[in-house]
């Protein structure tokens, strides 16, 4: 059973959906006019939908971002005009939790990369629940550099709880893999557009999110740590995750305010998975528009603008506080 609170909540809608469907069927088969009953039920349905999903707390958004039916990176990539997947870090392994390759988006050739979680248990095992190993980040580094050489813009989809924290990942220098991936994106001489489509977890997410333009879906989250991890670190109690979620300022609105996210894309009531087709269309449109705006910039302008963008974040001068500076 899912312990996702959004999935739990959706259960209460299932009965109502079944009844509406039955009524429609009956109405079609019989001369009886049941349109008013149907309308009433639908109104009720919309009302419940609003009650359940009208405003979501940060914790609810965390669950929405993790919803098993939420569109994953490949749901976006598969709607490109074309996609040719490239594999491997050339050294050790192909990591299926990062998908990458050449793609064509609205007639524009790009390099596309995304963390990919599974859409069922079996795929989740293969893709390590979307938590990349060092080999995944090394593949991303390789492809980002290739994109620069071939002058292809980079498009990324971010969706991971975080980088894999397992033994072999430590043995293969996970830190180094992420650190070098960050450098590769920082120094890429082509436009980069990143979209946070699900859970943006920590450095493992950021490694694919250094970009000239960052888009975020309304109910996606992007956080310095998972709420569970944060609660464990601060209070040694992972069960206080809901409280941590409230503190972490991990929603799209928060992040736009901080200047970390450039554009928020609205989701249907109840989340992106309730109308995945439109969400994907709208997202790809936004990515394309961002690429179009960036297309005229020279490599030097891009690098300069990207530097200034990240340079600004966290330049902070506290007021009224004296520096700890003792006499020399």
């Amino acid at each position: 059973m899912s312990n996702n609170i959004i999935v739990e909540r959706e259960r209460s809608l299932v009965e109502l959906e079944r009844r509406i469907a039955e009524l429609r069927e009956a109405s079609a088969a019989q001369p009886l006019d049941m349109s008013s009953e149907i309308a009433a039920l639908e109104q009720k349905y919309q009302q419940i939908l609003h009650e359940l999903f009208g405003t979501l707390s940060p914790w609810e958004k965390v669950h929405m971002a993790r919803h098993p039916n939420r569109p994953t990176s490949l749901d976006y990539i598969s709607r490109f005009d074309r996609f040719d997947e490239l594999h491997g870090d050339r050294h050790f392994r192909d990591d299926p939790s990062i998908v990458g390759g050449f793609g064509t988006l609205r007639s524009r050739n790009v390099m596309v990369l995304g963390q990919q979680r599974g859409r069922d248990t079996k795929e989740n095992l293969r893709r390590n629940f979307g938590m990349p190993a060092p080999e995944g980040y090394r593949k991303a580094t390789r492809l980002a550099r290739l994109a620069s050489r071939l002058r292809l813009p980079i498009v990324t989809f971010v969706d991971t709880k975080g980088a894999d924290p397992g033994i072999s990942s430590e043995e293969h220098a996970q830190s180094e893999a992420i650190a070098i991936c960050l450098q590769a994106f920082t120094m890429a001489t082509v436009p980069i557009v990143a979209t946070i489509v699900g859970e943006g977890g920590s450095g493992g997410a950021l490694a694919l999110a250094i970009a000239d333009f960052v888009i975020m879906l309304e109910h996606s989250t992007y956080s310095v740590a998972s709420p569970e991890g944060c609660a464990a670190i601060l209070w040694s109690d992972a069960s206080k995750a809901e409280e941590a979620a409230a503190h972490l300022k991990l929603t799209a609105d928060d992040l736009q305010r901080f200047g970390i996210v450039d554009q928020i894309l609205p989701e249907p009531l109840g989340g992106a998975h309730r109308n995945a087709r439109d969400v994907v269309t709208q997202t790809l449109g936004a990515v394309d528009a961002a690429l179009a705006r960036l297309a005229s910039l020279t490599p030097e302008m891009l690098l300069d603008q990207r530097y200034r963008k990240y340079r600004r974040l966290g330049e902070w001068q506290a007021e009224g506080l004296e520096p700890v500076r003792t006499a020399r």
């Binding site: 070098i180 740590a225 902070w316 020399r328």
Partner: protein, 278 residues
């Protein structure tokens, strides 16, 4: 270890804290060590060789030839997320300021090391577990930018539990910001040397710490991406003691060398010679 004039003054606050600072017990062999002797031995247990975690200014004193000119000391942490749990974030910062005598988890500036002028940044685990907040990132960035203008090498001592929770995504963005500064610095052909000290993990480990030209680690330091506890919870078994030590990483090819603290300054001076084009 010669004690520069400025050091006692910088450590004033620390020394105020309590009398117990006069004595330290070795967590490895249990020996009780007089703090002044310990300092004279670079905070290495005189009995068993255990490397105590060093305070930033002690570290600087042990590495710099003499003078140290601080940079970014007036960039100070705020409370961007308006964070409060058991305690407000400003209150936590205040406690750590008093306890550590530092205004943030890193001290940056310029020093001469064996005659080589370098940008020197030293993280301190005693301030918020060496976590990286906005100001940590800002100071590191200011250092790399200044060193790039001067075309001098940078030496960073890393010690960190990762990105700081209480500054949320603004803390995570410091991985990006420092990476940008480090990358520009390196692209110009400048030399970047890092010393990983106990412990180095999380966001610091996964950004500027592992981007260096040469990665030195202090003997026995714990270094990794994920914390030991996190991994043990994930795999539901105890990890071998050796796992994530500097020595383990050397064998796994992740770092260039493991050095005892007593050899550290000499090693750094030797390494700096190689990048000297005067």
């Amino acid at each position: 270890m010669p004690r520069p004039d400025w050091l006692p003054a910088r450590r004033t606050k620390e020394n105020h804290v309590s009398d117990e600072a006069l004595w330290s017990k070795c967590p490895k062999c249990g020996e009780v060590l007089y703090r002044r002797d310990l300092a004279a031995n670079l905070f290495v247990c005189t009995r068993c060789g255990y490397h105590f975690r060093m305070r930033a200014y002690d570290r600087i004193a042990s590495i710099a030839d003499g003078e140290f000119t601080e940079l970014g000391a007036d960039v100070l942490p705020g409370d961007p997320l308006d964070w409060s749990d058991r305690k407000s974030y400003p209150a936590k910062l205040k406690t750590d300021r008093e306890r550590s005598g530092l205004s943030e988890s890193v001290v940056c500036g310029f020093a001469s090391v064996g005659g080589h002028r370098v940008g020197l940044g030293v993280m301190d685990f005693h301030f918020r577990g060496g976590t990286m907040g906005q100001v940590t990132g800002e100071r590191i960035t200011l250092l790399f930018e200044a060193a790039r203008r001067e075309r001098i090498p940078c030496v960073i001592f890393a010690a960190s539990g990762g990105a700081r929770m209480e500054e949320g995504m603004l803390a995570l963005m410091q991985l990006a910001k420092t990476t940008a500064a480090v990358s520009r610095f390196m692209a110009d052909g400048n030399f970047y040397l890092v010393v990983l000290t106990d412990p180095t993990s999380g966001g610091v480990s996964a950004s500027f710490a592992f981007q260096a030209d040469v990665i030195v680690a202090e003997s026995k330091a714990m270094i990794g991406f994920a914390g030991r506890r996190v991994i043990e919870q994930t795999i539901r078994q105890r990890l071998p003691d050796q796992f994530q030590t500097a020595e383990f990483l050397l064998e796994k090819g992740a770092i260039d060398m493991v050095v005892e603290r007593s050899d550290l300054k000499d090693t750094l001076v030797r390494l700096l010679e190689y990048a000297d084009h005067e």
